[in-house]
């Protein structure tokens, strides 16, 4: 699941065509919301699915699921319901893994 640093820009665009996109609504239960470490785990996992495009929506805000910076900008707080959208290769498997990260109750009592 770890991915070498640079150059993942290409396949990271908007989901192609809409066909085959998997959408999931997930409630954030981590007491600190989608904080740095959870977001980081999410982005790293998402990057592991090189052929999939991942987006997360909080209300009308959209984040590229492979960018920690974007995810933090969602300000997804405890109790927020976010929508996960995955398309491309391995979309169902990626959606399962990523939804599990978002829904995990956490338990780490520190942010970064």
């Amino acid at each position: 699941m770890t991915q070498a640093g640079g150059g993942n820009g290409g396949p990271n665009g908007p989901p192609p065509g809409g066909g085959g996109a998997v959408r999931r609504a997930v409630r954030i239960t981590n007491p600190y919301g989608l904080h740095h470490r959870v977001a980081d785990r999410f982005a790293r996992t998402a990057k592991g699915y090189a052929g999939a495009a991942v987006a997360v929506f909080n209300g009308d805000q959209r984040a590229d699921g492979k960018s920690l910076w974007d995810l933090l900008g969602l300000v997804a707080l405890p109790g927020a319901e976010v929508v996960l959208e995955v398309s491309g290769a391995d979309a169902p498997a990626a959606a399962d893994a990523l939804a599990a990260i978002l829904a995990a109750p956490g338990g780490e009592d520190y942010t970064i």
Partner: protein, 590 residues
């Protein structure tokens, strides 16, 4: 001019140039560069981000090896951010669009992002804002790491170099940061986060530096060198003050200095009530050199020497000699006949040092392995400290006190260990004091309720109201959402204190109160009325407490305590006490 309200934690006022820590402690040399140097700046930026990522990776690996992956991953998120293409693209875009320097582009991008986080959070209410602020702290750290990579790492302490006295502004300060401050270099400080009884606040008080904490976001609105005012009496931070305000504060500063002189005049007057009952006033200290403050403010000894600072800022645990030297110097300053109560290691979740990362693995550190519980698990650490205390006791009236005792078993274990240590010293022929007086803190409700049983085991009690209040009301004193529950005058707390005083009286055990409560003139009458004859507080607070004592009769204090005991709520009790104090000493209120 802009006034921001925070929590006043250390009195006094100060006017001076701001030193903004965390970020502008690193000075940004140029905002913009000539257009032909833009690509060069992009290059510098990329190298710096790579370097910051490498440093975070090294920290992650180092911590993972020492403490496990869960801790290492704390830096994993930083590492990811430095490598994040969206993050990098954002900064480069800013840099190119405005011909910013690499440093300024980083700073601007992160601060814009923080502003956006906070604006978004405001739509979701106060919890969201608190959450965004916590994240902002993390992001300031990210900014600082990149700026360090661009400009070089600062060495050593955060205390300002050079002769200029400054007002320190920061998101938050680590206790070990403030330990380096001195009134000679720092006029005051103000922080965005932090609560009224955080360790930093206690220390600011001990160092006698005016301070305001919990101001909320302001670092984005101030730059290093700006003139600012910190009003530690009213809890105000004033940015960009107008000339009238500066003049007004200059006047107040001089007036306060005069009042300090007047308090010094009280120093040599005895601490007795109007009808002649002595109330012993002792000082709380954190650092050995503060023992001098005790004498300066008229304390009759040290009622609480918080020994944690020996453990802070250290790459290793302090040695027995380090303990001994510190204790000995306090005894020498105080004199051989005056008590020096040394509290053994009382590390809590809010008291940061090298072990703190270990402690936060617990889901609920305030109810976890801390303080004496930690000592009873790390016996070597505990023994080292006890040996030093027993040895230092030869020179004066040193007493040992165990913190956070919650059962009589724990207290007995501590005493057993103390006796073992005495035997070791005896066998080794090392000079020590065998009949050192032993006491326990009463700061857990279970201990207060069992005070009659604990009284059989010790020579004295010291009621630690900070923790007792928070454990009794199950309210974290640093959590602004529940801080209103935290009130020393809450009837539940007063019943516990009352029970402890009675248990002590029945068993001939001395009772002292050493929390913040005992330094507040508002509670002095009540405490005397409840039967306390000894109070321990930050030395600087003592003159005002003494002034109340000298205006009181015991009979009147008892009447006040009886009246307060009949009240149902903390608010009623506080109002009643305030009205009473206003009647007997109007100038002590406000």
């Amino acid at each position: 001019m802009e006034k921001r309200r925070g929590i006043p934690v250390s009195p006094g006022v100060a006017i001076g140039p701001a030193l903004v820590l965390d970020t502008e402690g690193v000075r940004i040399p140029h905002q913009t560069v000539p257009p032909d140097r833009v690509e060069g700046e992009v290059g510098r930026l990329r190298v710096a981000l790579d370097e910051a990522a490498a440093a975070a990776r090294a920290s992650r690996q180092n911590l993972s090896t020492r403490l496990g992956a869960a801790f290492g991953n704390i830096f994993g998120a930083q590492e990811s951010l430095f490598e994040d293409p969206a993050f990098r693209a954002k900064i480069e875009e800013q840099l190119r669009a405005n011909s910013f320097s690499a440093e300024y582009a980083v700073s601007r991008s992160i601060r814009d992002f923080i502003k956006r986080l906070e604006t978004t959070a405001q739509k979701f209410g106060p919890d969201a804002v608190a959450d965004a602020r916590r994240r902002a702290g993390d992001l300031y750290d990210v900014e600082r790491q990149v700026l360090y990579a661009l400009l070089g790492y600062p060495s050593g302490s955060v205390a300002p170099a050079g002769g200029e006295r400054v007002v320190i502004l920061a998101n938050d300060l680590m206790p070990s940061d403030t330990a380096d401050f001195s009134p000679r270099t720092v006029w005051a400080f103000a922080t965005e986060s932090g609560g009224p009884t955080s360790h930093t606040a206690i220390l600011a008080n001990a160092l006698e530096i005016p301070a305001v904490v919990g101001v909320g976001r302001f670092l984005t609105d101030v730059s290093g060198g700006d003139q600012v005012i910190v009003d530690g009496d009213r809890g105000l931070l004033i940015l960009d003050p107008d000339p009238g305000t500066v003049a007004e504060y200059e006047e107040r500063r001089v007036a306060l200095l005069n009042r300090a002189d007047r308090f010094h005049a009280l120093r040599d007057k005895p601490s007795v009530t109007h009808d002649g009952t002595p109330i012993r006033l002792l000082g709380n200290i954190e650092l050995a050199h503060e023992a001098a403050h005790c004498a300066e403010w008229g304390a009759e000894g040290v009622g609480l020497y918080r020994s944690e600072f020996l453990y802070l800022n250290k790459a290793a645990d302090p040695t027995e000699e380090e303990h001994y030297e510190a204790y000995k110097s306090v005894v020498e300053t105080i004199g051989p006949d005056k008590p020096v109560v040394i509290r053994t290691l009382d590390l809590g979740a809010d008291k940061v040092f090298s072990l703190s990362a270990l402690l936060t693995t617990e889901k609920n550190p305030f109810l976890g392995l801390r303080s004496v519980r930690l000592c009873l698990r790390k016996l070597d650490l505990f023994r080292t400290q006890l040996r030093a205390i027993l040895r230092a006791a030869v020179a004066g009236d040193v007493r040992v006190m165990f913190p956070m005792i919650s059962t009589v078993d724990e207290l007995r274990k501590c005493k057993t260990l103390l006796n073992e240590v005495k035997d070791d010293l005896e066998d080794a022929g090392v000079p020590y004091k065998r009949d050192v007086r032993v006491g326990t803190m009463i700061e857990v409700p279970s201990a207060a309720l069992m005070a009659d049983v604990l009284a059989r085991e010790v020579d004295f009690f010291s009621v630690g109201t900070n923790d007792l209040v928070q454990y009794t009301l199950a309210a974290d004193r640093n959590n602004e959402n529940v801080a209103d529950l935290y009130n020393p005058a809450d009837p539940a707390v007063l019943r516990l204190i009352d029970g402890v005083v009675r248990a002590g009286r029945d068993r001939g055990v001395e009772v002292n109160v050493c929390g913040e409560m005992s330094g507040e003139p508002l509670y002095t009458t009540l405490l005397v009325g409840l039967g306390l004859r000894q109070l321990s507080a930050t030395p600087r607070k003592l003159p005002e407490v003494k002034r109340v004592i000298r205006h009181l009769t015991v009979e009147e204090a008892e009447r006040v305590a009886a009246q307060v005991r009949r009240l149902d709520t903390a608010r009623q009790a506080t109002n009643y006490l305030r009205d009473h104090l206003r009647r007997i000493l109007p100038e002590a209120v406000d």
